[in-house]
């Protein structure tokens, strides 16, 4: 038998690309217990735990992996739950190759230990086998103090769960009619099935967290009103939901979507089941997606699944700079998405009566590196060409929504709209108000948002504890 570290990464079964490009079922099928144990046994149990450094919530990776290798999946799940409240989500959507797996010693030997897949397996196994769907309940006496969480994305959900577990009365206010943030309206179900998300949310609800949907803070209620009405601390996790457009001619033609709108119609509003569901979406025949991040890949693959015959990605830099997760790029390619690299759209072309008929593009070359360290794309003159399309989806980034900052006096924000916080504690410029996730960093990742939610929960706990002690002193 070969030495375990010589075994390659255990592949994960997937739906066949041709077939899956026509359905919304999950693309990857997950490990069997045998596969998980085999994969876990590749871990070298490094003393220095380099992998843990790459995980924004510091899961004790070697420890949980060891338990998986031993077949003690329940114990492995408990180990993960200590650090991560949304394990089955992160196991699926973390850009592992940039995080935990990047630092794995095995990466240089024979491929990193598939930490994400093992995390996913463990969380799914636990959900299927445990009596309760969460690992630990409140470990403290219930407290009178109340915390308001604004935004029910990964940052807010994590902070809510942690604070409820610490004994606080937690209410989450969400603008939309459903919980989950980008996990609900952005990431499609073929990457993150709805049952998985619902299950994770249910486990947070079962810790005693109250959810109030349809509450747009800044409109329905202001942060000041929340404070006046008795919330002792507030966490802002409102994400980066404001879509960026290209500001090129033709952008208001019918058939041109922001990725947010396109994905929201399909994911949040179930437009693929129109007219049984009330919300329509344009069914693309030929679609052009602008951008190469996760959002662009999700839009392209969703367009395929709605029935598009041709889907093009248009990206102004080269393959190396594409920001999407490696796995998503690979999956998109396998499913037949066509990549037009070093190509930049310059205009949306009008066909019949205000409808899109195509996208005019220009070829680019890479010049000197810019501020971000990436080589700057420069247009090559006289290289314009048209791609025929009835649908175009603009997926070139999001920034924080101005609703909260424009209605909260004294809340410091950056020139691009991010909330300014103390990075260690998540404190904003207003005492008692904390913030984290994309609302602070701009568009980032699920797990960094969760990490920020967790750090703020710890600071909020300390802040409220100090308040309690002060009050006790006063009343003595």
């Amino acid at each position: 038998m070969p030495k375990r570290e010589h075994l390659p990464r255990t592949p994960m079964p997937e739906q066949d690309p041709k077939q899956r490009a026509t359905n919304f079922d999950e693309v990857t099928l997950g490990y069997t217990p045998e596969m998980a144990m085999a994969e876990a046994s590749r871990c070298l149990a490094c003393k220095q735990k380099p992998c843990v450094r790459g995980c924004p919530v510091n899961i004790n990776i070697p420890e949980f992996v060891r338990k998986v290798a031993e077949g003690d999946f329940g114990a492995a799940a408990e180990e993960i739950a200590r650090a991560n409240a949304l394990a089955s989500v992160c196991g699926r959507v973390c850009p592992q190759e940039e995080q935990c797996e990047k630092y794995c010693l095995m990466a240089k030997v024979n491929g990193a230990v598939a930490i994400g897949r093992l995390e996913r397996f463990t969380a799914d196994w636990h959900a299927a086998h445990a009596d309760t769907n969460h690992c630990d309940v409140s470990d403290r006496e219930p407290l009178d103090q109340k915390v308001a969480i604004i935004g029910a994305g990964p940052a807010g959900l994590t902070a809510a769960g942690d604070l409820a577990r610490a004994g606080y009365k937690v209410t989450v206010f969400e603008a939309l009619h459903e919980i989950g943030g980008v996990l609900r309206y952005g990431i499609p179900e073929f990457r993150l099935p709805r049952e998985i998300l619902d299950r994770e949310i249910e486990s947070i609800r079962s810790m005693g967290v109250d959810f109030m949907t349809n509450v747009v803070i800044g409109k329905t209620l202001t942060i000041d009103q929340l404070r006046e009405s008795g919330f002792d601390a507030i966490f802002v996790g409102t994400g980066a939901g404001l879509p960026t457009f290209l500001n090129i001619p033709g952008e208001d033609l019918n058939g041109v979507y922001s990725s947010n709108e396109f994905l929201t119609r399909v994911n949040l509003m179930n437009a693929k089941d129109f007219p049984n569901e009330g919300t329509p979406v344009r069914i693309p025949v030929k679609a052009v997606v602008v951008g190469a991040g996760n959002t662009a890949m999700d839009s392209a693959r969703t367009a395929l699944r709605l029935g598009a015959q041709e889907v093009h990605i248009v990206y102004r830099r080269s393959r190396d700079e594409m920001p999407a997760r490696a796995e998503e790029l690979h999956h998109a390619e396998e499913e037949g998405v066509q990549f037009n690299l070093l190509v930049n759209p310059v205009a949306f072309l009008e066909g019949d009566k205000g409808w899109l008929r195509g996208v005019r593009c220009q070829r680019m070359q890479l010049g000197e590196p810019d501020e971000s360290g990436r080589r700057r794309p420069i247009p090559i003159p006289e290289t314009e060409f048209d791609i025929e399309a009835d649908t175009a989806i603009v997926a070139v980034g999001q920034s924080p929504n101005p609703l909260i900052r424009s209605t909260t006096d004294g809340l410091k924000t950056t020139p691009w709209g991010g909330i300014v916080v103390n990075e260690e504690t998540g404190e904003t410029s207003i005492p008692g108000v904390y913030a984290g996730g994309d609302a602070v960093t701009g568009a980032a990742t699920v797990i960094t948002a969760m990490g920020a939610g967790r750090r703020s929960a710890i600071s909020i706990d300390a802040y409220l504890k100090a308040l309690r002690e002060n009050n006790n002193k006063v009343s003595e």
Binding site: T171, A175, L176, H177, D210, F211, M212, T213, N214, V215, V216, K219, T220, L221, T222, Q225, E228, S229, G230, G241, L242, P243, F245, N247, E251, D252, L253, N254, G255, Y257, S258, N260, E261, T264, R265, M269, N270, F274, P275, N276, E277, G278, T279, P280, R282, K353, G354, W355, N401, P402, L403
Partner: protein, 310 residues
């Protein structure tokens, strides 16, 4: 702990019955307050319905010019409707809408005692209510419902209001009494002459501007009507506010589906509007974007008609 929230009261008019009171947020900040119960339903015409719902959180900060996003059932689209009246004391919010397609018919099919699935608001930027002198409030069709709260607020701010209401025929005219009460003067025109003067609102407006000095105009109604009013007022340099109704999804500035071009800039009607300077609006772009789902809307209407007849 009891907590109090105070309110600004400027320019609210009488549509909110109390102006400076305090209310207990604790009472309405519980998930159970999220059952948006229909307290009252009334038909104003064959196709126009007035619903009053229990939605204390929406009532709390609502101001004239703002709207809600409503989902009648858990399968429904999110559609915007203007807040016609909000009562902070009772927590009741009124909307008035015309049954034009699938979702508005679903809503019109609900009865007193039932609940709607979702009701989020108040959304959008409130009307900028100033004392300017004489204001012409020109409204057509169901736009009269959208105009009413604005008219009341303008009146309360000390303006002289001349209302001009248009409808295709007498039976489609809504809220006449309410508008009469809110205006200093009211003209009514119908396309077929079945009530008031025969003609269209721009005729009445043109006549009015001959007779009176108009400091400002509001135009709310079907797109061609608003555009025509703007053509009249542009010639006479009368500042004109219109209320735009592009297709919306979230209503919070997240999707960009409601984008409109105003003065060359892209604006999101749900957060920057819905009210804009009518002389700067790109009407052609709005017209075509509003028609973006026409085929699908037709399909949904047919499906709901079939279901209705079955």
């Amino acid at each position: 702990m009891t907590s109090h929230v105070s309110h600004a009261s400027a320019g609210e008019g009488d549509w909110i019955k109390t102006s400076s009171h305090v209310c207990r947020l604790d009472n309405i900040l519980s998930p159970s307050s999220a059952a948006y119960l229909i307290l009252d339903k009334q038909r104003l015409s064959d196709t126009v319905v007035r619903l009053t719902l229990h939605a204390p959180l929406v009532a709390l900060n609502a101001q004239p010019g703002q709207f809600v996003l409503i989902r009648p059932t858990e399968r429904s689209e999110r559609i915007p409707l203007t807040i016609s009246h909000a009562d902070r004391v009772s927590g009741a919010v009124t909307v008035i809408f015309q049954e034009v397609g699938h979702t508005t018919r679903e809503l019109g099919g609900l009865e007193k005692g039932q609940s709607v699935q979702d009701f989020a608001g108040p959304l959008g930027t409130p009307s900028d209510i100033q004392r300017v002198g004489t204001v012409a409030c020109v409204a057509g069709g169901v736009g009269i419902a959208v105009m009413l709260p604005v008219t009341r607020a303008l009146k309360a701010a000390g303006n002289r209001i001349i209302g001009i209401l248009g409808a295709r025929n007498k039976s489609l005219l809504i809220l006449e009494d309410e508008m009469r009460e809110a205006c200093d003067e009211l003209a009514i025109v119908t396309d077929d002459g079945s009530y008031g003067e025969q003609g269209i609102v721009t005729d009445a407006l043109a006549a009015l501007t001959q007779r009176d000095r108009i400091d400002m105009a509001y135009a709310i109604g079907p797109l061609p009507m608003m555009q025509a009013v703007c053509d009249v007022t542009r010639d006479q340099s009368i500042a004109t506010v219109v209320s735009l109704d592009p297709v919306m999804v979230d209503g919070t500035g997240m999707c960009g589906g409601c984008r409109v071009r105003v003065g060359g800039d892209v604006k999101f009607a749900c957060v920057d509007g819905p009210e804009f300077d009518g002389h700067l609006v790109d009407w052609d772009s709005l017209r075509s974007r509003k028609a973006g789902y026409r085929e699908q809307e037709q399909k949904a209407r047919e499906a709901s008609e079939e279901a209705h007849h079955a």
